[in-house]
Amino acid sequence: MGLLDKEFSDGNIVIARAEDLMNWARLSSIWQLGFGLACCAIEMMATSASHYDFDRFGVIPRNTPRQADAIIISGTVTLKMATRIKRLYEQMPDPKYIISMGSCANCGGPYWEHGYHVLKGIDRVIPVDVYVPGCPPRPEALLEGLLKLQDKIRHESMRKKTA
């Protein structure tokens, strides 16, 4: 909330660059792709539900990748699924962000050794912005991951590529 912080905290005139405004808009309205993979998806749903309420941060699930800004890889990615996830990622319009939720998506999790059909980390297929550890991560952890992503967006610049 860079813009509004400045506006309300020290009572100055808003001397924010247009970039700050753009970044503020992007980080305040991260729409996630409504897409669950495994156990973490249930925690992701719980995060959207009443108790934790993703909507407070402006996150709402959109079911089609065309209208989504972020994809939360919530669970084990199998080899069969990985190609589909890549496809979904490619269908999303830029700027797009990825949160890798849970150990399985980060690195294969408990399936790292004998999982003959498990992709050991979604970052082998698509670039990840934020990793959220845990098996499954608590909703608070996912919220923390979201805040980290917002932090990242806040410091983005349109002039240079960050991804």
């Binding site: 992007r26 305040s28 909507d55 407070r56 941060f57 079911n63 089609t64 065309r66 319009p93 700027p95």
Partner: protein, 355 residues
């Protein structure tokens, strides 16, 4: 309004453009507010808070959403029919925007004082169907196509009960002008059409139940025309992903969204004009009491917006309470129940009016 500006400036085109700015502002502001309201209403109904981080209780949330959408990449799928794909959102938006031209927000704020206001409204709102069909077809996506087919069937069907109820109101009031209809229901809520109109007599009391039936049919069928739950099958999230706008991204999708909320307000406005006195105050005007007659149009504007928003709130309330119907059940509701009842209502209101 147009006449006033025309006298002031003396140029038809500039006056026309200036007049058009007013409904555009209203529809945009309402859509921004409506989307925020929808999220807050749903959140509070679901024991949540809704957007909280963008300004006071997230009131800037929709602004952020729109600014984000403007920044998004504009993807047009390779196999999409590009020209149709690009025209469709514009057409849909135009349809719902043009409807605001004839809606009297108060006795002074009225885009165009055409005599055939309600007729124009019914005609122009059908343009939305064409836009939706184009969107569904040109996306070259099966979900979009199914959604568009559903939407077309639904909107065209539900135009009929709407038109029948409107017809009965035209018969009752004897005018096609929305402004005149509003003027007829002046001075107190007792004179609203839903309470049988301003003429006191036996027929007024006889009409009251049938007016209620008419208003209910009108509300249900307009609910379906703007694709709200329980009639939101064209974009049924759990079946068709996002219906006819599955392939749209960024601001093109934003235009669908804006027009949806614009439509919500437009149909609420029509219901309040036909049945709930339009911009007339239910309890009399403060401006008249204290002798400041310039205050009256502003009060009228307030009452009009208040009535419209109340109906919009009811639409949202229903959305977050009810499940959705299936496509064949939707058609059953329309053809087997609403149309016969609306027709019967039309005849009865006609007979009572003659009495």
């Amino acid at each position: 309004m147009y006449q006033f500006l025309y006298n002031l400036i003396g140029n038809e085109i500039i006056a026309g453009l200036l007049v058009a700015v007013v409904p555009l502002t209203i529809i945009l502001v309402f859509a921004l507010f409506g989307i925020w309201l929808e999220r807050k209403v749903s959140a509070h109904m679901q024991d949540r808070l809704g957007p909280m981080r963008t300004g006071w209780h997230g009131w800037l949330q929709t602004v952020a959403d729109l600014m984000k959408m403007l920044q998004k990449e504009d993807i047009i799928a390779h196999d999409a029919d590009k020209s149709l794909y690009n025209i469709a959102p514009v057409l849909v938006f135009t349809g719902s925007f043009a409807a605001f031209a004839v809606i009297p927000f108060s006795s002074k704020l009225l885009g165009s004082e055409v005599e055939v206001g309600i007729f124009y409204l019914l005609a122009i709102s059908s343009m939305v169907v064409a836009g939706i069909l184009m969107a569904g077809w040109s996306s070259n996506n099966k979900y979009s196509l199914l959604g568009a087919m559903r939407a077309a069937a639904q909107i065209v069907s539900y135009e009929i009960p709407t038109a029948l109820v409107v017809l009965s109101m035209i018969m009752f009031t004897g005018t096609l002008s929305l402004d005149k209809m509003s003027q007829m229901q002046t001075s107190s809520f007792w004179n609203w059409n839903i309470f049988g109109g301003a003429v006191f007599g036996l027929s007024k009391f006889l009409l009251i139940p049938f007016m209620f039936v008419g208003a209910t049919i009108m509300f249900i069928s307009t609910l379906a025309e703007v694709n709200r739950v329980p009639f939101d099958i064209p974009e049924a999230e759990s079946e068709l992903v996002a219906g006819y706008f599955t392939e749209y991204c960024g601001m093109k999708w934003g235009m669908f969204m804006l027009s949806e909320y614009g439509n919500m307000f437009a149909v609420s406005a029509v219901i309040s004009i036909l049945f709930l006195g339009g911009y007339q105050s239910p309890i009399g005007y403060l401006g008249n009491t204290i002798g400041a007659s310039w205050l009256v149009p502003f009060e009228q504007g307030f009452w009009f917006i208040a009535k419209g928003l109340t109906l919009v709130f009811v639409q949202m309330w229903l959305r977050w309470t009810l499940p959705r119907l299936r496509v064949d059940q939707l058609m059953t509701v329309c053809w087997k129940y609403l149309i016969p009842y609306a027709f019967l209502n039309l005849i009865i209101i006609g007979i009572i009016s003659i009495l």
